[in-house]
Every structure is written in C-alpha cells, then in structure tokens.
Amino acid sequence: MTMEARPVQRSDSRELSNLARTSSIPSTPNPSSSSDAFMRSENTQFMSKPLGQQTYHLLSSSNGGAVGHICSSSSSGFSTNLHYSSIVSHEKQHYASGSSSNAALSNDSSWCSDSLHGGFLDFPENHQASEIEDGVIGAGFDDIQKRNDWHEWADHLITDEDPLLSTNWNDLLLETSSNSDSKDQKPLQVPPQQPQIVQQQPSPSVSVELRPVGTTSSNSNNVKARMRWTPELHEAFVEAVNSLGGSERATPKGVLKLMKVDGLTIYHVKSHLQKYRTARYRPEPSETGSSEKKLTPLEHITSLDLKGGMGITEALRLQMEVQKQLHEQLEIQRNLQLRIEEQGKYLQMMFEKQNSGIGKGTASTSDSPSKSEHGDKKTTDSKELTPEETRKCQEPESPQPKRPKTDN
C-alpha cells in the first residue's frame, strides 16, 4: 500500500506510527512485520537484532582506538563484527525505557533507518542522485521527503475547510518571503515519482547479512548512511591519509582500506576526505563562504591596529569571554533541562502507578492553583500545580519542588 494510496489517517495509534514513519522515513512499511514491530517497539527489535543495519552502531576499528557512530544502510561488506561499546549499551537502556508511546516513535534507531530505508531505495532509478552529491548524505534526501510529506499533508488538509490550516500550508509550500521565519528555508518542492520509488522496494529486513540490491550497486553514493565522526576516528583517518601520501594523493578507497573500520563506507570516507581537503587548503575558521565577509571588519581592525596591535586583542578577549559565558550558560541550562525531564518522568511514573493502583478518581490535581511568582523562583512552596497543569492529569507537574534546586 503506497503512501499516497493510504490517506492520512487519524486517531489510530497505528496511523500515528505510520505517519510518523512516513514523515521522516521514506521507506514503505512492507508486509514484513519485523519492520512494523521495529518501528513501534524499537527496544525489542534492538535487542534481538542488535547488529542490524537499522541500529545505531558504535564500531571499533582494528586500531583499537577509533570509534565512530555509524548509522548505515549496510554496505555490502557489512560484517557482523560490530562491537557494542559502553555508549551503545547506555543508549540501549534509554531505548528500553523511553519509547513506549506510539507518538514518540523515531529515536536513534529510526533515525538510522530513515537514511537507511532511503538508502535501499536509491537504486539506479533514483531521482535524487543529484541530491546525494551533497556533502550531507541523508539530508538532501530527507529534505525531499520532508517537503514531499508536507505537500502530501497539505493536499489532504487543504480539502478540509480550514482556512487557517490551508493558509499555513500554503505559506509553507510556497515559501513566500512574507513568512519571514521560513524565508530562508528551501521552497518545498515535490518530486512526484519519488514516493512510488519508495514504495516499490521492500523494506530491508532487520538482519545483519543484509544483501539488498542497493548496496551491491557500485555507486556508493546510493548508500544512504549517516556517519557520526569522532576525533579518534578522524585521527585514524588522518593517519591513513598521511601514509598514502597526503590528502591530495590519497584515495577514498585506499583510506577506507587502511582504516579498517567496520561499517565505514567509501562514501563516508569520500565526503570526509573532501571536507578535509577543503579545510587544509582554505584554513578559515568557518568553512562557509560568508567567512570572508564575516572577517572583514576584524581584518580592517587588524590593519588599522597593527601599530598599536592591542585593540584587536582586547576585542578578541571580549569575544572569547562572551563565548565562554554562553557556553557555560548552555551547559547549565542543559543540565537543568535534563533534570527537569528526569524528574517529570519519575513523577509521571509514580503517578501512573498510583492511578493504576487506586483508580482514576484520585488523580491528584491539587486545588491550589497559584502560580509561582516570577521573581520568586528559589522557594519551594510547591505542592501546588498551576491551573493549566491541573487540567491535565496525565502530566502531573509536581508534588515536589517546582524546579530543581540549583545553584546556577
């Protein structure tokens, strides 16, 4: 059943998963139950088929030190020699605990499988070959998927008589500059054939020895895989490149061979090599074209100040100071956010336990709906729920301190 044939269904957990899938996952849900099951209960699949290409692997190279995350659509040489590192097992725990809701579907694994499924479907008749030439493997493809899906939804939704929604969708589709938020986003286009391509391919089975037609294709561009590099892996890369005579002389194939990292594809190496070459021969802090423009004001200052030479240093110190501040604040904020979520999760769990034990009537909505004062954030007079929270029993905000006590 193709994506188009199945209209956007509603109010069904299955459709939820389907739609969530189709939004970010180009592949078809094929008859294979493993695929569906995988989507909905990643942890199970994860555990049982840990080495499937749909998982998010940590691989160790034979060098021993270099480790990278590979989310790969299983290149032809994909062996079963995948090692789980402690990080992966850490992730496994998350999966086990996290993804029970139908609504919350794609986690790392399905993120993998996004590109993954896309990869299998990128066969010679693939129309996005040009997209794939981008440095980012999955992004172009996913972009199209995204656009395509939005268009799909728009098609369906515009038929509803909802001017508001229609308007919004039109905005999104047409990407008029009147919508300043999305001004810079690429216009949504629809390659119509594309979904059909998506549908034709059977979704890859969740197995390690995957021998999909796609990966045997010599066109390595078709292997949709997103790789997450690490400094260690990069170091191994650099070593390999150097031993092959430098970035100009080294070939992706040679480097790939030397590195001996399972799951690393020639495409990964190729795009990484490209970036590497660029970085070496145009040593700007930013790889972007705007770097020149960006640096111009400072360059002016430099030339003016060479005599004194101090102003620029002061400016840099100030800039560095500000950057450090932002960094620090971001760390703090992130930790707080994590703690808040953890706390919320715990509370919800407790709440549900209580509910299931006692029955619904005792959903603990507090009846003191006072909001906390803006300034008064350090107090913990907090067995209270704000009005909006009392409305939703499902998400008890707190019988506990309203926010984690923090020293900032």
């Binding site: 956007v8 579907l105 400094p231 400016a315 960094h327 979520e341």
Partner: protein, 249 residues
C-alpha cells in the same frame, strides 16, 4: 509568544547558512490552533524537524572535528616557528591565529546554542500542543528528543572547553597588553560587534537571559533565571545597536 520572538531574533542574528536549519516554531505554533491538525501529522512534522537538526548538527560537528585538528597543527607549527621570543615579527601571524581560534570556539559554542534552542523550542511547542489539545504528547516525545544526535552536544562542548583552556595557556596576555587597559575595548568591541559570531553569541546570551526571566506559564518544567557571573560586566560594554545591515549573502 515570547519564545517565538526570541527564536526569531536568534535566527536573524545567526550565521546565514544556519538560518533555515532552525525549528519552524511559528509555523508549528500556528498549526496547533487548526482543528484539522491531527496528532499523527504533528508528530510527523516534529520528526521531520528533528531530522533536519540531526543532519545539520552532525555535519557541522564533522567539520569541527576536522578543523579542530587543523588548528592544533597550525598552533604547533606556529609555536615552533616563534620559539620563545616575544618577537614582533610573528605578531601578525599570532594575531591571526588567535582570531581564528576565537572564532572557531565561537562557532562551536553557537552550535551548542543551536541545539539548545531547538530543544527548547520543541519542548515549548509540545507543551502548547498538549495544552491546546489536552494531549500527552510532550513527555514521551521529549524523552525521544533526548536521544537524538543533535541533542548530544557533548563532543562539541568538550572541544570548545579544550580551546578555552588552550587559549589561556597558549596565548596569554602579556603584561604589556594588559596594561593597555580596557579603554580600547569599547572601541574594539563596537567594531567587533559587527562580526557575525560575536553578534550571534551576544544575542544568544541576551536571549537566554530574557527567556528565563519569568513567564506566565511557569511550571515545574520551567527553568530558573539565568545567573550570569557578573553579566553586566561582560555585556555592558557591548552595544549592539539597531541592526547594522551586514552584507550577508
């Protein structure tokens, strides 16, 4: 609404090629009020957004890793060249090196900021959705977000911190420089403020402070106010005047 404004400002101040990678907060918010939006569509949209973040983040991270190494080599070579003498001849190169390092650090921090903004935006939009629709989308979805690649900023953060210590060690301010005092910094800072990374960073700090000042929907999931160590000291000399038309492409 405040966040919507904030994120918009952030986007405007951000590096040009980043601008279309942020969360489409406003669109999503508007969508929520529409009756024809279903949960599945909404989830799908959010997933698509996350895909976008992931792709962008991972690619930037890769660039940073490469550049991180290159900068290290460069510094080493430069250090060898200069030796120990406080030679004037290399001053320009050193200055250049400093600048590149600071800018590099800045970009990395901005990527962490990018991640944070999008996370915050997602959390807020989910909260709005649940509030409007009586849903329970937020909690499980956020759990999922926590495992997304774009959220895992540890590596970039670590690299940035390395540079923070390196900067102090390798490029200490000589006494002479310190004596010049900060009176020149006002001039320099206003000039430097035209520089993209710097502007963006300051805007991010200001935004963060504003956003955490307090809100009408404060809950257990809200963050406390920002506690900048002496924020005024850092931010006061910086006057980002009404937007200078920066010739970004």
């Amino acid at each position: 609404m405040k966040f919507g404004k904030r994120i918009k400002e952030q986007i405007q101040e951000s590096l040009p090629e980043w601008r279309d990678k942020f969360l489409r907060y406003k669109e999503l918010k508007n969508l929520i009020s529409s009756p024809s939006l279903t949960e599945s569509i909404f989830v799908g949209l959010l997933n698509a957004e996350m895909e976008k973040f992931n792709a962008f983040f991972v690619e930037q991270e890769e660039d940073f890793i490469i550049h991180h190494k290159e900068l290290q080599y460069r510094i080493k070579r430069l250090a060898e060249k200069c030796g120990d003498n406080d030679d004037e001849t290399f001053r320009e190169e050193i200055g250049e090196m400093r600048k590149d390092t600071v800018n590099f650090h800045g970009e990395m921090v901005l990527l962490v900021n990018y991640s944070n903004i999008n996370y915050t935006g997602l959390a807020k939009i989910l909260k709005k959705y649940d509030k409007r629709r009586g849903g329970a989308l937020r909690s499980p979805f956020i759990q999922k977000v926590l495992h997304q690649p774009f959220f895992k900023t540890d590596l970039v953060s670590r690299l940035a911190r390395e540079w923070e210590t390196t900067m102090d060690a390798v490029f200490p301010m000589s006494n002479r420089e310190a004596e010049r005092g900060y009176e020149r910094s006002a001039v320099a800072s206003s000039a430097a403020a035209g520089e993209g990374i710097f502007r963006n960073t300051v805007a991010a700090l200001v935004t963060m402070r504003e956003m955490r000042r307090g809100s009408s929907t404060y809950s257990a999931f809200s963050l406390p106010p920002v506690n900048l160590s002496d924020p005024d000291l850092v931010l006061r000399p910086i006057h980002i005047s009404s937007p200078i038309p920066i010739p970004y492409s």
